[in-house]
């Protein structure tokens, strides 16, 4: 039997606001436990929720990026459940009227584009953080009330790879739109995966297994691939897949059962009567969309069409928001965009990896890198010399010209007539080398270039010298 996986994703994204979604409690990370709450976050009596404007702006930005219909009225509901992570006894969310509905995202699989439907995007609040020990649990309410958006895909993903690409793209959107830092390892982007399998061609869904709290993009693919294989084996052996919640254990490279799901939980949703429906004007929605920074997809296209970068270089630059911002900042100081992309992707990224730092800690200003690229672009220095200068610029925190001066590197000679004179001298002095070259001895060319370098103390532009020498040899 050939099986087909059916995968749907629910992604929770923590928004990068300064205050919480329904209170003015501060949104922070890593502060002492229970020091970042206001009365509403702890459900103290007599408190009422108010809706954070920036949270709504952020939700609209993501809705727009996901081609969703945006509701021009905000309605909130209570999701009721009794659990210690939620002091009010309910979570404020949007059940009946999510702010965004019926959108899609395009991913690329094996060079082909695939549209993945997105059912809904709604605004809600995060719960408190629970720490479970052997016989007790500790509660930290700092996170309680932090703004979240939940993005629910349609069950249209068909492999772990597709799911991974989908999450990568969602992450890129929320990071580039400045809506979230999208750090899965810190929990600001959390992913629950629903996986079932069915016979290929069948319209009927199989029994769904939920894999919760996957905290790395690569784990998503691994967890799904494992789960598809596990379910396939069960069915092939005549068994029945249980409806359950599982978690992914990367050490064991497998999903493990957490709890059985006998019935779906009834959260008894009802409208949040403490928040009057809020009208969003067309102007408000338009401003939220127009204030959104440029997204990766648009940047990629711009880098290719305006700067002439190839797909590889452009994709590498937009794979990280801060790197692409650094590149953008450098373009103010040089027009050699392709060369600049090469320097950022090779030398700057190489330096970051070697020193295990992020671009915000990279010690060279965009102006300085732009200046160095200009030197290379006008053949003032060779690539090798430029790399020496690059290192010296970082060591001494100076610009390219100063570093060049410290290193005693004199400018390359790119004057064609001057180089030609030296070439002709060399050819005159080495007639045998011309014969050797004509007879196909490759080394003869290297020897003649070496002679030119010797006569000019290595100051001539090597590429130009090579080109001129080849032309001159053709004539003889």
């Amino acid at each position: 039997m050939i099986f087909e996986p059916v995968i749907g994703l629910e992604i929770h994204v923590e928004l990068k606001t300064k205050s919480k979604m329904f209170s003015n409690g501060p949104v922070t990370y890593g502060k002492d436990a229970n020091t970042q709450t206001v009365p509403l976050d702890l459900a103290f009596p007599g408190t009422l929720p108010t809706v954070n404007k920036q949270g709504v702006v952020y939700a609209i930005r993501v809705c727009h990026a996901l081609h969703m219909k945006i509701d021009n009225e905000l309605h909130f509901d209570r999701k009721n459940y009794f659990y210690s992570d939620l002091p009010k006894g309910y979570q404020i969310t949007q059940d009946k009227r999510p702010i965004g509905s019926d959108g899609y995202l395009t991913i690329e699989i094996n060079g082909k584009e695939k549209k993945i439907g997105i059912e809904r995007l709604h605004i809600e609040e995060d719960t408190c953080k629970q720490l479970h020990f052997k016989d007790f649990t500790l509660l930290n309410y700092n996170r309680a009330g932090t703004p979240l958006i939940e993005i629910v895909s349609r069950p249209e993903l068909r492999s772990g790879e597709e799911a991974m690409k989908y999450v990568e793209k969602i992450r890129s959107i929320v990071v580039f739109s400045n809506v979230s830092d999208g750090k899965m390892e810190e929990g600001s982007l959390r992913c629950d995966v629903n996986v079932s399998i069915r016979e290929k061609g069948s319209e009927k869904f199989g029994t769904k297994v939920e894999i919760k709290n996957i905290n790395s993009i690569s784990y998503i693919q691994k967890a799904i691939d494992f789960e598809v294989e596990r379910q396939s084996k069960i069915i092939e052996n005549g068994g029945e897949v249980l409806q359950e919640t599982r978690r992914y254990d990367d050490a064991k490279k497998e999903t493990l059962p957490m709890r059985l799901k006998t019935d779906s939980v009834d959260y008894k949703y009802y409208p949040e009567a403490n928040i009057t429906p809020i009208k969003l004007s067309d102007e408000f929605i338009k401003n939220a969309i127009e204030s959104c920074p440029e997204l990766a997809e648009s940047k990629l296209k711009r880098y290719m069409s305006e700067y002439g970068l190839n797909d590889y270089d452009a994709s590498l630059l937009v794979s990280d928001k801060e790197i692409s911002e650094y590149y953008d900042a450098c373009t103010k100081f040089t027009n050699a965009y392709k060369l600049l992309a090469n320097w950022v992707n090779v030398d700057v990224l190489g330096y970051l990896n070697k020193n295990n730092i992020v671009i915000s800690n990279f010690p060279m200003s965009p102006e300085h890198l732009g200046g160095l690229v200009n030197l290379v672009a006008k053949n003032d220095v060779s690539s090798n010399q430029a790399r020496e200068i690059f290192t010296k610029m970082i060591e001494e925190n100076v610009d390219a010209l100063k570093a060049k001066q410290i290193l005693g590197i004199s400018s390359q000679i790119s004057d064609e007539s001057m180089i030609l004179n030296v070439i002709n001298e060399v050819l005159k002095e080495n007639p045998q080398s011309i014969i050797d070259y004509k007879e196909g001895k490759g080394r003869a060319l290297g020897f003649m270039i070496g002679q030119v370098m010797k006569k000019t103390q290595g100051k001539v532009n090597p590429k130009l010298t090579n080109d001129l020498l080849l032309e001159e040899l053709k004539r003889r």
Partner: protein, 98 residues
């Protein structure tokens, strides 16, 4: 419909972590009787399902959204004052997962 009696009310109060005197439970039960009767009267009307439940007393919307400005948080002492058990600045309770 579930029948309300003193035991049901006591159980509900216990779940909500409060208690009342016997007289108060009797008063509450009487009020429940009245509420249930009123609900029945409403339920006897035909064609009710055609109406959307009303959440707000009248049709109203607002355009108010709070500016994203954080306020002064509670001190930890204030935040945890109602908690009978604490550890390391956190609320401590019996383990809530299996």
């Amino acid at each position: 419909m579930k029948t309300y009696n003193i035991d049901v009310l006591k159980d509900a109060a216990n779940r909500l972590l409060f208690d009342m005197s016997e007289a108060e439970y009797k008063t509450l039960l009487n009020e429940f009787d009245i509420v249930v009767k009123q609900m029945k009267l409403i339920g006897d009307n035909k064609g009710l399902d055609a109406y959307e439940p009303m959440v707000f007393p009248f049709e109203c919307t607002t355009d108010y959204l709070r500016e994203d400005e954080p306020g002064e948080p509670l001190s930890r002492e204030e935040a945890l004052r109602n908690s009978p058990r604490k550890a390391g600045g956190q609320i401590k309770l019996p383990r809530v997962v299996q």
